[in-house]
């Protein structure tokens, strides 16, 4: 078991190294760099930058050095000092920028996930057990609508309704009077009052998808011989359902549970932009647009690390859940 995970850890390191190179190369692929974006913006604004100023900036950011040297500086700073570099545009350390947004991103991801599970599992199980009943058709219909409606669209509609009929402030997570206030009970309640809209928006398509997946997974298991055995033993129907086929049908779910990790800091970019939520997604988007290279590179690096670690977590969770996998790890 230890040997197996030792090997897994080695793969993680190699994978991350490859990702770091790919990420850095890709950010440098588009023509120009942050300074040329800056020049373009300045010109659009009617003011010019003198060649000396430009040279100064390029020198300061080390943009004329060979790319492998820039990569080396970036990656060694991360590894040796945990320093993810400066954001050009924000003139702040990248770690600080992302750190500020992690809490809200995480709250949003976790609460929408809980909503998805709480709604999707019971409905998915019901739909599978009562396959082709009116209830199943009804939920399938709603589910397909939920999957088909784009999230940003739903966000806009909900914001319009909230503004038009309930007088809620549009977008953001706080009312204007609490925006810069220190944390107190009023601010927390205000956050709760705003948070349900993005949770609903993000949760709807996830719920719809999860219902379909739960239903399909359970249908695969529902008529297996071991279910007949359990029934023949005289177990009550709901008990045997939960203990045998539902338990089996959750295995694929456990193998994807680790993908939630990257969602904690990024994810849901479009919804966040539309609703102007101060989460990680819009930060990444603006960084990409202004070629803020250390912000984007480090952001992608952190996302990838979380994804890779999440995959390992998934495998561990699956081993905990399914004895077949556990025994195989032990043998290796």
């Amino acid at each position: 078991m230890l040997g197996y995970f030792g090997r897994r850890l080695l793969y993680v390191v190699v994978t991350l190294w490859a990702i770091s190179i790919a990420a850095f190369v890709i950010i440098n692929l588009p023509p120009g760099d942050y300074v040329s974006t800056l020049i373009a913006n300045a010109q659009a604004g009617g003011e010019g930058l003198t060649p000396a100023e430009i040279e100064n900036l390029r020198l300061r950011y080390g943009l004329d050095d060979p790319i492998f040297l820039q990569y080396w500086r970036w990656i060694t700073a991360i590894l040796l000092h945990g320093d993810f570099g400066q954001s050009f545009a924000w003139n702040q350390p990248v770690a600080t920028l992302i750190g500020e947004r992690v809490a809200l991103s995480a709250i949003l991801s976790i609460s929408s996930l809980l909503m998805v599970w709480a709604i999707a599992f019971p409905i998915g199980i019901y739909s599978a057990v009562k396959q082709y009943s009116w209830g199943d058709y009804g939920f399938s219909f709603l589910g397909f609508i939920g999957m088909a409606v784009p999230e940003f669209m739903l966000a806009l509609v909900l914001m319009y309704i909230g503004f038009r009929y309930f007088g809620a402030s549009v977008g953001g997570l706080f009312s204007p009077e609490f925006q810069d206030a220190a944390w107190n009970l009023g601010k927390v309640l205000d956050l709760m009052g705003h948070l349900w809209v993005p949770i609903l928006v993000i949760g709807v398509s996830g719920t719809a998808g999860m219902i379909r997946v739960t239903r399909a997974n359970l249908l695969d298991e529902l008529y297996r011989p071991y279910v007949h055995t359990a029934r023949a033993k005289g177990l009550p129907e709901w008990k045997l359902l939960l203990k045998y086929p539902v338990r089996m049908s959750l295995s694929p779910f456990f193998s994807t549970v680790g993908w939630l990790l990257p969602g904690l800091i990024g994810g849901e970019t479009i919804v966040s932009v539309v609703m102007s939520l101060p989460t990680g997604g819009p930060l990444l988007l603006s960084g990409v647009m202004s070629q803020d290279m250390y912000l984007v590179g480090s952001f992608i690096m952190i996302l990838s690390t979380l994804t890779v670690v999440g995959t390992v977590v998934s495998d561990l969770a699956l081993a905990w859940w399914d004895p077949r996998i556990r025994k195989r790890y032990k043998r290796e």
Binding site: P225, T229, G234, Y244, P323
Partner: protein
Amino acid sequence: MPADDVLLEIEDLRTHFLLDDGVVCAVDGVDLRVRRGETLAIVGESGCGKSVMARSILRLVDPPGQIEGGRITLHRQDGPVELVGADKRLLRQVRWRDIAMVFQEPMASLSLVHTIGSQIVEAVRLHENVGKAEARERAIDMLERVGIPKPRHRVDAYPFELSGGMRQRAMIAMALSCRPSLLIADEPTTALDVTTQAQILELLRDLQAEFGMAIMLITHDLGVAAQVADRMAVMYLGRVVEYGAAEQVLAAPRHPYAQALLRSMPRLGRASRTRLAAIRGMVPPPFARPDGCTFHPRCDSAMAGRCDTVTPSSVVVGDREVSCLLYDDEQQEREERR
């Protein structure tokens, strides 16, 4: 025979599958009796409805299949109960406590994510008011009785850690853990190799002597049936065509289908150059059942104008029951002569 000898009585059982393309009459009027402590083999080719019939007894048929009619009476110590119309509570009580089942694929029929022990313990505790520790001891004891070595160790094993034969033994241990009066074994040896098959059959016979339960053995393998059966029922297209003592049915079958089935079986000692007699024609498609006797299109003794119009009912011929118009005639003639 005395009536109190009968453990399970099936009368005119009909189980149909309501599909989009029509109705498939998988079980179409089966009459059978299982006596206490005896082994009844149900034989017939794939698709003849023997498995669905067996599942109907415990009402385990999945939709779109449903029991359309008939009576299944179980004669318990405290009086008879009827199963087709039984409510869920009674049915759950009968399941495993009175009638237990062993299925074809032990790998698929046991849960792979629960230990063997926990699955046996579950069955015991469902039906008997015993503590966990006691149920576990019972599980270990049962595993030992079915010949699983080191049962104290194996009780915590998962099914995928055992060989096919061991898995089926564990399944049998689970089936007998509540000491049922009837064990339904649905092709219990089909998924196993020949050596293991013989061992499992032997085990079933030994356990029957020890526990005194009746066995309903469903098999397409006449050799298996010949080894263990006291009585035998031959099924064709959802009906029992011949029912009688196993030795006699095997030695001198009366129904033309049973005769053809036996002729198609390879035998030791028969000149190896003689061709095996295959049964003429094909099993008719499920939606186009022949009128009259369902076997008449394939039957060498079919009587035109009679077998294709009249549905034969079961008649007693000597020591057994046969559903064939040939014997109906004989009986009529005999009666006329009198």
